[in-house]
Amino acid sequence: MSQNEASVAGKPKARVSGSYRELGLLVFIVVLCAVIQVRNQSFLTISNIADLLDNTAILGILAVGMMMVILTRGIDLSIGATIALSGMVSALTVAANPSMSPLLSILEGMAVGLVVGSLIGVLVARFSVLPIIATLGAMNIVRGVTYVVSNGAWVSSYQMSNGFQSIAMGRVFGVNNLVVIAIVVFVVFGYFLNYTRMGRRIYAVGSNPEAADVSGIPRRFILWFVYAVMGALSGLAGVLWVAKFASAQGDTATGYELNVIAAAVLGGVSINGGSGKITGLILGTILLGILNNALPLVNVSPFWQQAIQGFVILAAILTNLLVKRNGLRQALRKRAI
């Protein structure tokens, strides 16, 4: 039950090459930071790093959910819309009841996301709709519903209670709430994926669906489960997003799903399913966060950002692929086949 099917060739070896990959990513991040620091001295200051982490926290929370979806060979394009809908619903509720507890707002957003995710999960798991089709359709339906719910209007900061805004502004031991929540999510799901039966079953379903069926793993339930969790995490992210930017709009987080998928893929989550680690995911998220944070610091036009991100993702995927091919080739050679 190690990271991927290649582990049959030799379990310890696969584990070593897996951590090599993360080491490589870490080295790349360090080199990148050094280069940026040389270009702009304000990059590695406490305040900028805190800023970077605040801005990356939501991405990290979403990346955890996306990782589980991708582990089952799926993909979820609807999360940007789910963020908008759950953020909008919770913001509208807070605007109507200013005395509402922030915790209740978070639960409300997560409930909205959970409903959306569950519906997608039913489509994918029960009716075998391809994930890309189901989530592409859901993306538009949910986005449309967001506009209908809000009647096209925005909810602005003056309509939000201080309690609601403090969700994203507050601090625990000097660390921003968002970062704390992201760390909690990483820890909880790191434990869940590695040390619980359900977590291991997600890997099993992704690395070989037929084998999972034959072994009596409730494959369809697990498929439903990952989309439902992805929805709930998107709902959480929606509330955090709206609290952070103090504004809920119909077009909130349009296209953000691409960033999230990018973070997961950069973090070494295999798009063919069954392989990926939380540690890699954290590094991938931070790398994407650095790219977003540092490009303006080194005077790269914000309009270049998307293309640069695209090329970095392409390079990461192709590098990953070639390394893997090389590893398989060497494994074959060693066994003299």
């Binding site: 489509l123 009716f127 592409l136 538009n140 309009f303 192709l318």
Partner: protein, 336 residues
């Protein structure tokens, strides 16, 4: 397996099965028009039927190659970004002094290359699924469009250019005539040539097709390049209709196009479909949008409707075909 080969061998049973789906589409089309007639007294006229399609035909060019792509068992979500990239390059080079015909040729060249690049990645790196390849190129193509034009618009096209999107030849809009020609070409290619049979064969079982001597890589690259070429057509007609181009044009077209293909009865797991179904679906969705526009339904509600149509038609088709034979997952168009 036996079931499948019988389907292919007995063209008649296959045809009769699909005719049913397409007759259903015809009925839906008629129903949409009856509703529209009820909504507006001015609706029922020859002008409506000839003139309205010009409003939605720009994206219809993408439906033709997307049908090929989905029959192959693949998907392409980069088409809208490809439209934006090639439109931006056409408008920018024109504004820099290139003659417009040359800029249009450049547009088609760029879009074809961008489409072919998807096919190149798919065939060169077979481990990658079409979803992820076209997702990456979707980011990159749109990203390059933003690099070129930032938040500016480019355009100032001459009058004859707007004729392409707005003009008529006799009673027929020019864009409708071009589209009919393209639809015939793609229909013949899919249903009347060996190339079309290869696409169906690969959609059913890419490995078998390869062992039977189909050069699968070349088929995938050709279909990808065709998709790019049609994205170029869309770019030209869209720019002509809008009069200028921005990097954010054609946002969300991939959903409309995929929804039309799927509503047209093309199976998302590959190997099944006709060109007639998606053609009908283009006009159903197009006239539906037009009719809803007549009664001032918000654009956002249209989003919901198209999304629901996509999911519902996949559900109906999945139920129809379930039990016939089990399908491999996405990416079935390519052997590993």
């Amino acid at each position: 397996m036996a079931e499948r080969s019988i389907d292919v061998a007995q063209g008649k049973s296959l045809a009769s099965k699909f005719l049913r789906w397409e007759w259903l589409l015809v009925l839906i089309f008629i129903a949409v028009n009856i509703v529209n007639t009820r909504l507006s007294p001015y609706y029922l006229s020859l002008d409506t039927f000839l003139g309205t399609p010009a409003n939605f035909l720009d994206k219809a060019f993408l439906v033709l190659p997307m049908t090929f792509v989905i029959i192959l068992g693949n998907i392409d979500i980069s088409v809208a970004s490809n439209v934006a990239l090639s439109a931006v390059i056409m408008a920018t080079t024109f504004n820099m002094g290139l003659p417009l015909p040359a800029a249009m040729a450049l547009c088609l060249l760029v879009s074809t290359l961008a489409g072919w690049f998807n096919g190149f990645l798919l065939t060169r790196f077979k481990e990658l699924s079409a979803v992820i390849v076209t997702l990456i190129t979707m980011i990159i193509y749109r990203g390059i469009a933003y690099m070129i034009l930032q938040d500016q618009a480019a355009g100032n096209f001459p009058d004859w250019f707007s004729f392409l999107g707005w003009g008529n030849i006799g009673p027929f809009p020019f864009i409708l005539l071009v589209f009919i020609l393209c639809a015939i070409a793609f229909g013949v290619l899919l249903h009347g040539t060996a190339f079309g049979r290869k696409i169906f064969a690969m959609g059913n079982n890419a490995l078998t097709a390869r062992y039977s001597g189909v050069r699968t890589d070349s088929v995938i690259q050709t279909v990808s390049a065709l998709t790019g070429l049609m994205a170029g057509f869309t770019a030209i007609f869209l720019s002509s209709r809008m009069g200028s181009t921005r990097p954010n044009v054609a946002m969300g077209y991939e959903l409309d196009v995929i929804a039309m293909v799927v509503l047209g009865g093309v199976s998302t797991s590959g190997g099944r479909g006709t060109i007639a179904g998606p053609l009908l679906a283009i006009f159903i969705i197009g006239f539906l949008n037009y009719g809803l526009g007549l009664v001032n339904v918000q654009a956002q509600v249209l989003l919901i409707i198209v999304g629901l149509l996509l999911i519902l038609s996949v559900l109906v088709l999945n139920v129809r075909f379930s039990g016939r034979h089990r399908r491999p997952a996405l990416g079935a168009g390519r052997e590993k």
